[in-house]
Amino acid sequence: MTVPLLTVDHLRIAAVRSGAAVIDDVSFAIERGEFLAVVGESGSGKTAAARAILGLLPPGLRRAGGQIELDGEDLATLSPRRMRTLRGPAVGMVFQEPMVSLNPAISVGAQMAEGLALHERLAKSEIRRRCLDMLARVQIRDPTRTFDAYPHEFSGGMRQRIMLASVMLLKPKLLLADEPTTALDTLTQREVLDLMVELARDHGTSVMLITHNLGLVSRYAQRAVVLQQGRLVETGSVQQILFSPREAYTRQLVEALPRRGVATARRAAGEPLISVRGLKVSFGGRQRLFRHEADVAAVNGVDLDIAAGETVAVVGGSGSGKTTLGRAMLRLIAPAGGEIRFQGRDVTSTHDREFRLASQLVFQDPYSSLDPRMRVGEIVAEPLRHVARLTAAERDRRVAAMLDEVGLAGLAERWPHELSGGQRQRIAIARAIVRHPSFVVADEPVSALDMTIQAQVLKLFGRLQAQYGFACLFISHDLAAVEQVADRVVVMQGGRVVEQGSRDDVFDHPQHDYTKALLAAAPVLDFARPTSVRQLG
Amino acid sequence: MTRARRPSRTTMVGLVALLATLAVVAHANAETLLRTRLNADIRSTDPGTNRDANTDGVMAHIVEGLVAFREDTSIGPMLAESWTVSNEGKTYTFRLRQGVKFHNGAVMTVDDVVWSLKRWLDPATQWRCLSEFSASGIARIEQIEAPDAQTVVVRLDQPTALFLPTLARPDCGQTAIIHRDSVGPDGKWIAPIGTGPFKLAAWKRGQYIDLARFDGYAARSEPRNGYTGAKIAEVDRVRFNIIPDSSAAKAGLLSGSLDVINSLAIPDLEDLKSRPDVQLSITPALGLTGILFQTRDPLLKDVRIRRAIALCLDTTQIVDSVMQGTARPNNSALPIGSPFYGEVQAHGYTQNIAEAQKLLAEAGYHGQPIKLIANKRYSFVFDSAVLVQAMAQTVGINIEIEVLDWAAQLDRYNRGDYQSMSFVYSARLDASLSFEMLMGPKASQPRKVWDDPEAQEMLRQSMMTDDAAKRQALFDAMHRRFIEDVPMIVLFNGAELAALRKNVKGYAGWLYPQPRFWGVSIQ
């Protein structure tokens, strides 16, 4: 056993003001060239641990105890100046948010060259040459143009590649990757992570991958460390952690991974509840004030039927038009062509009040879909305004019942900002279901939540659908979740349906190439198939 | 405004050092400079047309008329040697002084006089006092001629005592005699080429006006008396700095960057009295400050209420407090300085609270609010209003002060649209004019305060004859009716307050509120 590159002994990180421990007595080590995954849900302290290594804890936290030894040097005792000489050449870091990980005000080249210029005395031309080589290495099409361009001109995936290039330029011994691809869709995620592995291999860099997605752990890590609320739960090889976990929490994490449930084909006979023929939606590059929505390809010529009680999942990369389809079917966006029929009636152009009251939408971001100025009880009660002949007492009773059903009994008086992400999404669902709608569109309902919470919310959603029998359009880019929930699957690319069929047909015998690529990219932990890292290894 | 020529261009050691040199004004050569101040820029250098009080004051140094006012507001000869009145007061024959030079060196001839007088009467000149010689004025000028090289004869269509005073009025540009070259071939005004002790050297709009001594000035023999007599310039240059803010002007005097500041505000007086390096010149003026009543107002048309207000005031205390001893109480329309101000005029209202309350009860007054308009441009006008309100309060009269800016108050004054108003009249140099400014039919002249046909007849007669005894009798009768009818309460005549540095000699104020810088020297 050679001397490990990095050893962390009894590390303790506490909040400055309250002294509460964010990391309590955590020890682990990383061998040279080894890929270690640090797994935990939000609030487990995994990011704090990574940042402690670099000595870049956010202002509210400080290192309260323990050693961090890198190449035999205890980082804790170093002077700020000495620490700065290590940041870059010794330890590099890649961040999560592509939109804000690069400085928008200065050119890509300037940011890449900055690291090199600081740590090595090189001529300007030599620095430029190395940057261009590295950009080519990370498969950026036109390095010279990219060098002088500004970050806002690139997509999320491209920016993560640029960041990876600028970090790897300094050939660090250890690379800390803090959820580098969470914000990307499955295809791009696969490309960036494969690239990271190759680059690390080239320079013998060991990688500490911080993630909450066990799929990625199985594919990209050799060993794993599991954290919960700042405490070390378990350490071991990926094989042992995933397939024979010793601790209950680890087992719970693994179980939370969505897996193919038995498909209860509740295909109701007769008229589909809602059917769409040749639906067209053209998006005149409308710039939404907040989300710089990429110019979503127009939805052109989509045919789709959903029966009562059935869940049809729509999958596809970002920009495939799946969200636009959902909004168009709810008539929130005026379709440019085609026809929508609900319970046999054509609702494409007329303002059908009954269709409006019978259809509902669950949003992705639990933070911005609830009015911060209204209490939970009021939010859930609001839809009942439109139910005729409903007395106040009757309404309160129904709200209380609904809250109980989503597992939030007694929280009626609370404010949204006092609750966790999972709880807020349950309220959003309660609001959607309280009026017993017959058609619900769920637009990425769980992708913003932690794994364990995702599992609970999906289970709740399934139970409510079984109980109330509403038809559901489930939009998601997370194939694992789709595999668990969907009866039928529709795959969209560039605004068009490229494949449609029952869940088993689409997952087991994908016809279209795009579907195959999507399935290959998805880090679905298929117990039957061996983990691919070893293939790479 | 320490604009002085420094001996040599010293190198700038540091900002503080520079400031020190700046504060000490070094006089390079023997040129003497007198620095004074105006609160606003002059309107133009064309006397008697586009003008205001400041403009008249400055122009009085540059141009002169045939006749001018003496210190007691009587009329004295200026460019005229003497004059005789004939043809029942309709013909005025002026004998001209000889050897009087214009600023451009030309000697004044009788043709210059005729040309100037005709120019004033030409409507294109837009002379401010042209209306005095129109149908509604004091008389029409039928003919101006020069029988010989030394005399000019002016014939009027009817006798009037106001012909010479109108010629001498400063706001009429003293009907100045100017050289032909003052205007261009098209008659457009260029610059004043007059006969005064100073000539116009420079005018930097918004900043200062420079007057330089006119060496070729032909001074009269008798000593300085009002705008006539010997007007000898004893300083090389006079600079009028434009400084709107009076406190800043006062500070300029104290810091040595100004030699003379006039028309001081009363509050400034308070502080300057105690200064060793400053001397004060306080002279009674002709302006008239008082409380005007709108006799057509439903409430104030009852003379008993007007009289009650008059009786509840202690005019002496008001004047002492507002003017801090620089003026004496005067309830008459004639200024104290006027030759016709006699024993009758001295007797006005005496405070009598009981009588006031009786009158109020008789009139059935029960606290209805009376609006008193005031403005803050003239501090004594505003302060008087505050004191009148306080004193009226003691007898239960509820006065509410409404502050307007000067232009808005003037508008209300001209339209007669007010219940009462604390107001200041500008100087009138003739007793008849002092009454004329208050009296007149309200129907056609809404700005007039006193609408009493019989009194107006007496006024008309006073304007016709120039027999002093007869005019005095008329003025006495008018005063008695004025006090009886209380169309307004005159409080005091203003005072012309000036502050000078110790080294300024020979300055003297007089009834007319404009400074005279001839006969003034700097030690």
């Binding site: 400085n103 | 400031l19 900043q207 003037l410």
Partner: protein, 314 residues
Amino acid sequence: MLGYLARRLAMTIPTLLLVAVAVFTLVRLIPGDPVQVMLGDNADAAQAAQLRAQLGLDEAFPLQFLHWLGKVATGDLGHSITNDLAVLPLILERFQVSAVIVLVAVAAATCIAVPAGLIAAWKQNSALDLAVIGSATLLLSIPSFWLGLLLLLLFGLKLKWLPVIGYVPFSENFWQAAVFMLLPIVTLTVLEIGVLTRMARAASIEVLRLEYVTHARAKGVPEWLVLGRHVLPNAFAPIWTLIGLVLGHLLGGIAVIETVFTLPGLGRLLVDSIFARDYPVVQGCLLFTAVIYVVVNLIVDLCYPLFDPRVVVA
């Protein structure tokens, strides 16, 4: 770029037209008129009518407005009623006074406020931060003319370091003019520091939260370079907007400060001409201020790309 400029200027035409109409009517709504002010208390009707005709004030309002607007289009703002000066040169001369004070003061305030705000944000909630934000709030709370009075009292009268009255234009003598300008500039700078520091601090805090700052530090970039190259350029956009707003308003004349220090600035000219009911000058000043406000906004917008590449001025 020119297309953008043309479009922006075209957009301002309606606003300026509105301002012109508003100015013209507002001025005539004010009771009292220049003729009465000129004639004072012994203005008989004949004299007043004659003067009014001479000044063209007896025409119907719409006619007067069209005359005025026609001339404005050609750049001639007419002549002052009180002293017959051409209005535009008068305004430009007076504007020079106000502009010098405002520009120097805002520049000085920015040079002090931005670093202070940056450091305060960098050491957020430290003693230094409290000191900076505390003094900024204090400065913000002092009435401008009271501060002017106190400075005048202290330096002018008591210590006699600085002259108390008067003004020398820069054209005549630079040093003397600078001496007269010192106190008003200091007064205005002190006032503006408060506002700009608070904005600089808030903007910097916003940027310090973002990941590319941590990314820079993770590359071993020293703190001063992190602040200078990464935080400042991104934090400067909101500060620049505020500077634009402040300039737009102040250039309209700092009447009160000009009154305290007896400076013949644009603000003073407007106040005096309102009191003298000098219609052409009032109209000229207000229109000029509006144009300045619009031009400053345009310049501010054009400068954004300098520090924020995302803003494209097409």
